[in-house]
Symmetry: C2
Subunit: 409 residues, 2 copies
Amino acid sequence: MDYLPPKGMRDFLPDEMRQREEVIEAIKEVYRSFGFVPMETPALESVEVLEKKCGEEIRGQLFRIDDGRLALRFDLTVPLSRVASSNAFPKPFKRYCIAPVWRREEPQKGRLREFLQADIDIIGCPTMRAEAELIACATSAIERLGFSGATVRLNDRRIISAVASRLLPGKESQVLRILDKREKIGNDAVVSMLAELGAKKEDAQRLILELTGGGSNEEKLKIAASYSKEAAEDLKKIIELAREYKVSGIVIDFSLVRGLDYYTGPIFEIRLSDEIGSVGGGGRYDGLLSLYGQGDFAVGISLGIERLMALLKGRKAGKRGVFVAAVKDELYPYALEVAAFLRNRGIAAQTDLNMRNLKKQVEYASLVCRWLAVVGEREKKEGKITLRDLESGKEELVSFEQAAVKIRQ
Amino acid sequence: MDYLPPKGMRDFLPDEMRQREEVIEAIKEVYRSFGFVPMETPALESVEVLEKKCGEEIRGQLFRIDDGRLALRFDLTVPLSRVASSNAFPKPFKRYCIAPVWRREEPQKGRLREFLQADIDIIGCPTMRAEAELIACATSAIERLGFSGATVRLNDRRIISAVASRLLPGKESQVLRILDKREKIGNDAVVSMLAELGAKKEDAQRLILELTGGGSNEEKLKIAASYSKEAAEDLKKIIELAREYKVSGIVIDFSLVRGLDYYTGPIFEIRLSDEIGSVGGGGRYDGLLSLYGQGDFAVGISLGIERLMALLKGRKAGKRGVFVAAVKDELYPYALEVAAFLRNRGIAAQTDLNMRNLKKQVEYASLVCRWLAVVGEREKKEGKITLRDLESGKEELVSFEQAAVKIRQ
């Protein structure tokens, strides 16, 4: 019988894992290029730290350790807030972190219970330059992966709260939670739920129309101002600044809510296509740090690696590196010499560990490598290699250095 | 009050984390250069999978989830065995994995409860070429980090088992567990414990002398052969092959035991200095895969990132990147343009998010960056940058391209 990974979790076999590492490396490079620095925290946190701001739904999804005191983190923002609230980093403190988080989601949702987030956060910046930079940096990272046409949906928690408060004063957070479900359950269900909560059906319907209505950003900024002047001002600034970063595709969308409890200002979500939904999102959470120590301004964005990987799935991972086959065992030391030379030039080079005949070595090489180097008596005598391109089948006798140049091309 | 990370676990702040990422990246590069490919598994495994081969001590150290069925992995070898035993990879299957593992160690040992391992394993190879390659690859990785003078201690479980069986037939595993403690508790304590277990004191003393005695590898191979001919043959081959890889410093050491239960053949340990102890180790575990499915030959080595990081601690992480300061707010778009240009050339570039005056910007820049670029009206008019070296204090007016060249040097 086979032993499987835990429910909702996955093994990443080499082809996929290689692509995953390339994606992570590309995102890191872009994050670093904007001056973000890495910081990491343990996978486990005290339940006390996590529960300070995880909301009812996620509280039920924590993987708790049997001592009752620890649980696996459900995001990277809460641990960051714990650390940043008790360390005197120069501000703004700009950190990145690409690491797994764990949530015991219901399997029917098709979501993984262990998934990788790629976060950037800015602590200690009150201005909208932070929001604009995060959006620019995250969309750059997505572009680096080869995607184009990202849409950034933009809203503000102050607007949603004002909307909710006008509809059902005192029940803002319940209204918010219902609105957050709209994309999954549809407008009608939301209207019914709001009615159940005490809203007039017509008011709820009018509200949904307003939240989901079309119109230019300029038109929406006017509506926004009728709910919250400050929020409208901030959204305007973000849009203006994003233009300086050459970010296009920003759309104010009042129907964007985002589930997490801790947002206090602008919120955003990045989409690449309607099928796949959001590939990232974030927002301002100025109140979070003060729960753990010294309060400060804070804003962050998180890219979902699993979603991005799903979009990349069609792309084929090419074979790499070279297999150095010795035509007989006595030539193994020469094969090792060739391999060592190539490795020193940054090329992945392997030799036959299993003492197989040449035919078997070639079979294996064609499964795992892009190139084949064959070494026999003649090659050894001349200090050369017979190099075969395993795609075209062409081969030629070359020096070590010529082989390195060819393979690296 | 401050909230701390869980007991025995650590936050990695930016300076240390940057060095950690460099170490991980360097090791990965070397692993890849030998043709190893990445494969990862979830942090959690079923307790059933873990307990099949974790030994009594580690069983008590598992971080178990409160559902009773899952626990955090305590090493990377057991999950690899689970996957490899049910997947038909081309053999030999050579994988690397650099990832955290968790053990609830007693705090007095000064060990972390979450620590990073950097493993390479070869599945499906019966020959000692696998052992030699692993040792060559791991020592190359250590050299890449700037260390020299690594010693590789070499022994074989078949020898230790024969030794134990001659001393106390039928009590091999208890003897092995006592011998494994020798370095921590000393020779005398080991002799007492073996005597308690039923050995004659003189026999136990003679055994310790033999295990810890000096002598050349050639002399020790003769002693080895008196316990196990096959083991002696294998150790000889490893030493010969390692020479072809230019690995020096291999020493047969009969006192090497290694705690883990699953080893069946050659075992090895890499040391850089006596104070820090082992920075890595591994061995052959041909029996492990069959516990999970299809059995196969297997051998692996694991570098301990925490130990290596501790040895690197003296090295200072230099500042990096450039801060582009605008002398007034109206010039912020020009600063963004400069920063975007530099980022496109692979340089980490930041701008002022907090709308501070020039003095404050320069203060911040000198805390977090290696270079400062100042842009005012004159610079904008001429399409240039005033670039200041924050180490030497020198500054000059340069073009974007000249700035990029200077910073990248």
